[in-house]
Symmetry: C2
Subunit: 250 residues, 2 copies
């Protein structure tokens, strides 16, 4: 039996947003590894071993998956959203490169999923309908100065912006600084979307003008989307819709 | 019977990348509208009317869908990839806003899909594993100067970049200019991925060092991904893997 690793995106939460490709991979797997709440989304069945692990042990988890595959097991690493966006795919390739020739021949596939910003955008309208940036606001793995630099350049380029990991319990002050920077750099009242737990029973979507945003509007289950300067809000029967037009006049 | 509009993402091409949510919407639809090759991906069945239309008539198509929904029909507008990324969702909301109160009460949902850059990234490794920008290189709807400005700022911020619509038959010179700009602004030999027709029978993935890129490596079916300065290439048994590490040292 020859083993493999598939790094699969479970989407934002709703089982109806899991691709058939990911469902098929889970059906063939002998082992599933991932962060505890993501592994909990995989149904138990005879012959399937579940290996939930804590947050912030991505490289340990990646090596464990590769070791099992080298022994002939069929291992699915589950990520929320898309595995290529601030998730496990990069961690697995970091482990592969650090391992040198050891894991060169293990088949590895990345199975894309619905990433949080696109699920959130869909629920809010079409705020990412024109050029945009995706920025991880956590400074666990990069200096805060680089985050601020990227925010300023994104505003200067008039990109819409999507923020992952906006605010953690352990370091809540970063998001407050990011909002202060945006209020100063944007100089307008463009809409900001706080999309929490999209597609789950806990979903909430809030649209707030930039000047009225507050740091505690986000937590680690929130994706934040900031419009470009021409992003519009339409009042509709059920909820406001936010969209960024496809065109920018000369 | 009350009508509705659902703007659905069909993903990059492989039916195994279509979400169950989109499949269910198509099963409930009375009408499907969209660009000819996307409507061709929807199976015909009794009672389902297909309305394929040409490229560049997005607003006409959006109004047609809204008019049919106002008459009580259940209309799915199909996009390739994700409808919120350079696709039909923004066009529908432009039509809604221009229509004033006429369409205020028609239920509209956006159903996310696997967008081209994430499908391409998955096939290549994890090139968008850290902060990145998505830029539409077509200057049909925005000035070329804005595209150049955004490219320069994205390089300055050391974002990875994904380009949609890199090169059309009618205006192939833009992509040549973009590559020249990148070669000058990046000043290194970071990897560039040309991902064509991802997940279809025509798929090809090419990894080319920036200095060796040529304009004719892309066409309208290609998504181009340019790494950040720290993006890595690993030689593996089957094909090279490109990934952007999750961390940036101080």
């Amino acid at each position: 039996m020859s083993g493999w690793v598939k790094i699969a995106g479970l989407g934002p939460g709703d089982p109806d947003l899991v691709t058939p490709q990911v469902t098929a991979a889970l059906a063939e797997a002998t082992d599933v590894v991932g962060y505890i709440p993501y592994v909990a989304r995989v149904g138990a069945r005879p012959g399937l071993r579940l290996h939930p692990s804590d947050n912030r042990v991505e490289l340990v988890r990646a090596r464990h998956a590769l070791e099992m595959a080298a022994e002939g097991r069929r291992v699915v690493i589950v990520s929320s959203g898309d595995p290529g966006v601030f998730a496990m795919a990069a961690a697995v390739y970091e482990a592969v490169e650090a391992g040198g020739a050891v894991w060169t021949d293990i088949p590895i596939d990345v199975l894309p999923g619905i990433t949080a910003m696109l699920a959130a955008a869909a629920r809010a309208g079409a705020p990412l309908g024109h050029d945009f940036c995706a920025i991880n606001l956590s400074d666990n793995l990069k200096p805060w100065a680089l985050i601020e630099k990227r925010l300023r350049l994104a505003v200067e380029g008039d990109f819409a912006m999507a923020f992952y990991n906006p605010r953690s319990k352990s370091r809540p002050e970063g998001f407050a600084r990011a909002l202060d920077l945006l209020k100063e750099a944007c100089g307008d009242d463009r809409p900001v979307i706080f999309a929490r737990a999209v597609s789950t029973g806990d979903e909430s979507i809030r649209v707030v003008p930039l000047t009225q945003t507050q740091p505690d509007m986000a937590d680690m289950r929130t994706v934040v989307i900031v419009g470009a300067s021409n992003t519009r809000v339409i009042t509709r029967a059920d909820a406001p819709v936010v969209y960024t037009p496809r065109s920018v006049p000369e």
